[in-house]
């Protein structure tokens, strides 16, 4: 059995760890609150924009504008993967990376070339270690993503789509269902998914014209999809971290309880042994 001092040292160490995980849990909780508010604030714009875009869209426009093109065969696909800059968030980054690898494998299985664009240190570190080429590597997106972040992230990819270098664009990020549940999600950004509903635009005065409006707001639509994904991802990261740190803190408590029991047993054994020695010693004197 381990000595008294050893057990004592381990208790000290676990206590320190628990202190750290508890602090991280509290920090994540407070960041999560703000991040959730931000997720909620993105919804009105996203919903209204979606309504307008699906009202204007009609398949016949696709020949006129590169952003609306619908390739017959997909030769090459771009994957935009959003991970976090920091770890210690449970399976958050691992799940996203796994989703991206599966998608790449799937696409290759269908004979489609893939190219990878990654945001977040964790994803970049993984693919760099694996020797996978990344066309974009971004580590400057903070806990508080902005529309400009989204624009700078998606603009080069959008251009590649318009010029025909890629035929499809996928976005992988975490869905923020709740703090406990943040599953990865794949969205097909491009080509634009058309809601096949009848165009409601006929009843409107359109200025300048339906297709010009559409061409102008589509970049905003795609950018906003990336923006909401980044905002949701930031919230999901904090939620995931809070859950992970909470369970780490709870575990540390269990370990401490166990160690304290061991410590008491060691101490008692020591005392018992000393008494036995004293009794034995005095018996020998008689």
């Amino acid at each position: 059995m381990a000595g008294y001092a050893d057990v004592k040292r381990r208790i000290k160490s676990v206590e320190n760890t628990r202190q750290i995980t508890r602090t991280m849990e509290l920090v994540a909780t407070s960041k999560l609150k703000r991040a959730t508010d931000r997720v909620r604030a993105t919804r009105p714009y996203a919903e209204a924009l979606h309504e307008i875009v699906s009202g204007l869209y009609s398949p016949s426009l696709s020949e006129k504008y590169p952003i609306l093109r619908r390739p017959d065969v997909t030769k090459r696909a771009a994957i935009l993967l959003c991970t976090a800059n920091r770890g210690l968030a449970g399976g958050f980054n691992a799940n996203l990376i796994k989703r991206a690898r599966n998608l790449m494998e799937d696409l290759r299985g269908q004979g489609i070339e893939t190219e990878l664009h990654v945001a977040g240190k964790k994803g970049i570190a993984f693919f760099r270690f694996r020797g996978v080429e990344m066309l974009t590597q971004r580590t400057d997106i903070s806990d508080h993503p902005t529309v400009d972040d989204a624009e700078s992230l998606i603009a080069p990819i959008r251009e590649r789509f318009e010029s025909g270098e890629v035929d499809a664009v996928y976005l992988i990020s975490s869905k923020f269902k709740s703090a406990m549940s943040t599953p990865p999600r794949t969205r097909d950004l491009l080509p634009i998914e058309a809601d096949a509903q009848a165009s409601s635009a006929d009843a409107y005065i359109l200025s300048p014209s339906g297709d010009v409006i559409l061409e102008r707001i589509l970049p905003a639509y795609i950018r906003n999809a990336v923006y909401t994904a980044l905002v949701e991802n930031a919230a999901a990261e904090q939620g995931s971290r809070r859950t992970a740190m909470k369970s780490a803190t709870d575990n540390a408590g269990d370990v401490l309880e166990h160690l304290t029991r061991t410590l008491n047993r060691v101490r008692q054994a020591q005392i018992t042994q000393e008494i036995a020695e004293i009794v034995g010693g005095s018996a020998a004197l008689e």
Binding site: P44, I205, P208, G210, R216, I217
Partner: protein, 106 residues
Amino acid sequence: MADGLLNVRVVSPDRIVFEGEASAVVAPAWDGQVGILRGHAPMLTLIGSGEMTIDRPSGGSDSFYVAAGVLKVERDRVTLLTEYAGDEPPEQIPADAIVFADDSDG
């Protein structure tokens, strides 16, 4: 909705800038200012950059700057989606804002 009033909503990607009733709205459309009163025909138009004014039913008005986006009017509901909204004109005009006369496809 009270009689003779518009229901106005101005939304930017990260917040609702204005939500409420108004007697009139003036917004910077891509080709000049557009005024909207009750009973306006359904309309969808691109927004340029400039100042927009919302007249309150009680008198007085709110005004702020918007840049790039789209304006929708339907059954006395006015929805304006904009990339930028603030008390000052934007330092940088958003990339996809309409700049007059830079286009021939308009």
